[in-house]
Symmetry: C2
């Protein structure tokens, strides 16, 4: 896609979300969702906002043309997605989960679903959800109780309770397509804890006629209630009770990059959806951080307090804007240098996962899969910190509801928790993604980073950063070796997974900064937009001077091992 076309699409999208969606964000948080008579009502204005989204087509930017989408590259879809969740994350989530469910359905659905259901979801008339968690079980699917039983007529009936279902019900669309994990009982009619008995089912809220696609009556999906949460209050988080609901088994997913998982083949579709949703969660996190930064930087320029430590930097007024103070700048640079590297990384990972060249696909998508838990967990950890840094800079004013940032702090706290809590992402990285394919993906990733580091050495202003980046890959490599050591204690991986994931996140962002820095210096030499490029260089420098060095401390901590965590008997905590 041509650069100018891309710019035009993004500018139009930004305009739409700023004008139509952003005004819904604060009021939607105040009002929250309502639950009356077994149905969810979203906050005032959401219906109109959602309808406007679908009418303008911003919900289907990268859906394929044959389903009614615009068929633009996934990277553009993700970039537009950032605008939507930055403007109003709670409302954006209904569309994002619909798009994820729809993508899964395109890979796993029967022909009649592709004909009748997929287009309705792409158009935005119907929505989608992902139903996994149960009251007593989240990550550990062995404990799942929801069951699907095949009937003598060949149909399936599904029963069980699912919780924390985002968009489990709403008043935005005429139907909801639930993708539900359930166990198939054995011949004795009992369910087991064997993961291979789990399959993914499509369960419509209202029955759909497979032949005509016509909507029928309701389908035994009872909305039992909604959660009262810390934030993201415009997004209905539902408890759904499936009561002998008509269900349709989905096929295996053919998505690349899923080969290394140790799980039931029947869950492949759900895993693909989860992985895509994890990337999406990283983008949501980033979008919240970015909006919070906007508040912070305005405040820092406008609020007057104290005088610059150097006389020559003083404005001459009674006090200077607080952006003159180094600790305020520290908070700003910490936010923005993360945000811009993270944005680049998320889009780069999207491109890696969608590599069109057959010859490169396996290698690139494996690197993308390796980095997916990092995007989810590192971004959500840092975004929450970032929104809190925005609040910190505003002092007591940041704590007041009217000033906008406290909602972003509350909203963004969920990103560390949903789509697999960040602890699970760390384990995914260390226990699955590192050893997959004999460790090829991490080696390939480090090689790419080192190529960039090497390139950086050629530019005077990038040399030191290139050396730092090079040393940081050594630190990661030494940890990879430590994890792979066959003499490792069985608890060591889990005890160090969080720190290791953070290291990879910092280095991956450093990789992006080095690439942006190289682009900036090489363009500065050819006289590009000097202001823009100098700004990029300053942010790059901050990341390498203040963030990347933490990698070396974390590397030492990774290698302390888990004994200090495990020796205390559980009852003494």
């Amino acid at each position: 896609m041509a650069r100018d076309d891309t710019r035009q699409v993004l500018e139009q999208a930004a305009h739409f979300f700023e004008k139509v969606w952003a005004p819904l964000d604060g009021p939607g948080d105040e009002e929250g969702c309502h639950f009356d008579n077994g149905a969810v009502r979203t906050p005032s204005g959401y219906r109109a906002g959602y309808a406007a989204l679908c009418e303008a087509g911003w919900n289907r930017v990268s859906a394929p043309e044959e389903s009614g989408g615009a068929g633009l590259p996934e990277v553009i879809g993700r970039a537009v997605g950032e605008f939507s969740t930055s403007a109003c994350n709670a409302l954006g989530l209904y569309a994002a989960l619909t798009a994820e469910a729809n993508a899964t359905l395109r890979r796993t659905g029967e022909p009649w679903m592709l004909e009748h259901i997929v287009p309705a979801m792409v158009a935005g008339r119907w929505a989608g959800t992902m139903c996994l968690t149960e009251p007593h079980c989240g990550t550990d699917l062995r404990l799942m109780k929801t069951r699907a039983v095949s009937q003598p007529d060949g149909s399936w009936r599904l029963s069980g309770t699912k919780i924390f279902i985002s968009g489990g019900d709403q008043d935005l669309t005429e139907n909801v397509i639930h993708l539900v994990l359930a166990k198939v009982p054995g011949e004795d009619g009992r369910i087991s804890d064997d993961l291979s008995t789990i399959r993914l089912f499509l369960v419509p809220k209202r029955v759909v006629d497979p032949d005509s696609g016509m909507l029928g009556g309701s389908n035994g999906v009872v909305v039992a209630g909604i959660e009262h949460k810390m934030g993201l209050k415009g997004s209905a988080t539902c408890t759904l009770s499936f009561e002998d609901a008509l269900a349709y088994p989905l096929r295996e997913s053919s998505q690349p990059g899923g080969a290394n998982r140790k799980s039931s083949a029947g869950m492949s579709g759900m895993f693909d959806m989860m992985n895509s949703a994890r990337l999406g969660t990283g983008m949501q996190a980033l979008s919240s951080a970015s909006r919070a930064y906007g508040h912070a930087v305005n405040y820092a320029r406008e609020r007057l307090a104290g005088r610059a430590a150097k006389v020559e930097d003083r404005t001459g007024g009674a006090a200077d804007p607080i952006v003159v103070h180094p600790d305020v700048r520290r908070l700003l640079l910490k936010q923005v240098s993360f945000i811009e590297a993270a944005r680049a990384l998320a889009l780069h990972v999207t491109a890696l996962l969608g590599e069109p060249d057959e010859a490169l696909r396996a290698k690139r998508s494996a690197i993308g899969s390796l980095l997916t838990p990092v995007v989810k967990a590192f971004f959500s950890d840092r975004s929450f910190e970032s929104a809190n840094d925005a609040m910190q800079l505003m002092g007591g004013h940041g704590y007041i509801r009217d000033n906008g940032v406290e909602q972003l702090v509350r909203d963004s706290r969920i990103f560390q928790l949903y789509e697999g809590a960040n602890g699970v992402q760390g384990l995914d990285l260390v226990l699955r993604k590192l050893p997959a394919g004999g460790g090829q993906a991490i080696r390939d990733f480090l090689e790419l980073v080192e190529q960039t580091a090497e390139e950086a050495l050629a530019y005077k202003d990038m040399r030191v950063h290139g050396e730092t980046l090079r040393r940081s890959t050594d630190a990661i490599r030494s940890c990879v070796g430590w994890f792979a050591d066959p003499s490792r204690d069985a608890y060591d991986a889990g005890g160090s997974s969080h720190d290791f994931l953070t290291m990879v996140g910092i280095v991956a962002c450093g990789w992006m900064w080095a690439r942006m820095g190289i682009a900036a210096v090489s363009k500065l030499e050819q006289a590009g937009d000097a202001t823009f490029l100098e700004r990029k260089m300053a942010l790059c420098r901050y990341w390498f001077e203040r963030e990347v060095p933490l990698v070396f401390a974390l590397s030492n901590r990774v290698k302390t091992g888990a004994a200090c965590l495990m020796d205390l008997p559980a009852e003494l905590f």
Copy 2:
């Protein structure tokens, strides 16, 4: 005070706050404060809870006996304070600020105030506040607009608007004693930005007759509104409009340890109050973290998911409690090892500041003053992280209002912001406390830590920790030297103050862990309560293996200097 007496007091206090106050915490957050017809109404149950507090005397544990207090040591008062804010921080704040204002009044008040006002506050019939912030000015008092003008009859009238006044109004007490900073205009009737024109005034909500102490009519203190905040919703944060209110100037404070401040002598009382409130804020932060930990540890023991990585640690059920997983233990140990060291440190600082021995007082209180911003800022940073770690461990369940932790996260966010945002604490440490007295306080502090490190070397199980502690003081000393270098850029101190404060916080907690560890090993050798002592040793080990090593990375970062923060022009942020 004898150990058994102390234990008895603390047990009774714990019982009271757990039974009477803790049940008010959640409902008070849901309901919040009301503002009707110019007056604040606190949440249901607060009036009865406050009355019960005052009746039982838990509001005046360490107030002097001559004012009606119990006269117990300040350390006991602080420890009881932790229970109160752990049980219901919003309600506790009304009592805490009253106690702080009262302590200030005892040092700065006229005889009639000591006779009539102090005892009413000690008894809890009247409350107190601290009025400093104005809409356009927080830290930078030069910008203050509130003015107090002496009248021909010798009285003073005070006018201006103050915001963010905790407990600025309520329905708990029959009167409120406001301590208000105001400027005294020059002969031309105009106020200047000269700090020496600022004085501290007592402004009662209802007029008090100086001769009889009888309550009169209202005194031109108009409650203009309350804030809608992220948390601490049961605490009324008021905007107060002083309209020619009758005001009484207070005298200079004679509090020790205040000698090094560069401020108006007229503000000494306010500074003393702020310093005490900063220590109190650190304790509040700690108390929230502690309560959140209670939720987290219960959840970790009860929630079943996955199986222990080692077969021998499995329970044999369908799944094990999540406390068997190393990353869950990491989150627990990170919380509890901070909490227990922080509690020890806060009480130790309290004791240092209240040193009764004349010969030791100057030295010890200077160390206490040095550590006060650290207790405020490091504790509040870490407590917020700690409450978030508790939430993280609970996954999506932590984000749901009913489960208790999300309120603690919202409530505890304020501690980083009020009583001087943490950035201001960092500057206080680096710009005031470090150079004060030629740097004697930091040298004395490091010497105490090194004595402990030396002692630790004598015990086999403490030797490595003692060495780590010793190296950590070197890291601090090198940063102190870096700050003191006369060739420093004017921005360097501000650019590194946050990291330096964090270093001192980690090392000070390490000091406490070393002392607790030494006590534990020496008692283990004499066969003490082995379980309790082994637990202490495990927490001590965690702190030295996983937290203290960060000091070395921070030390490097401190010394990177501020160039990477200051080079970017303000308009490019």
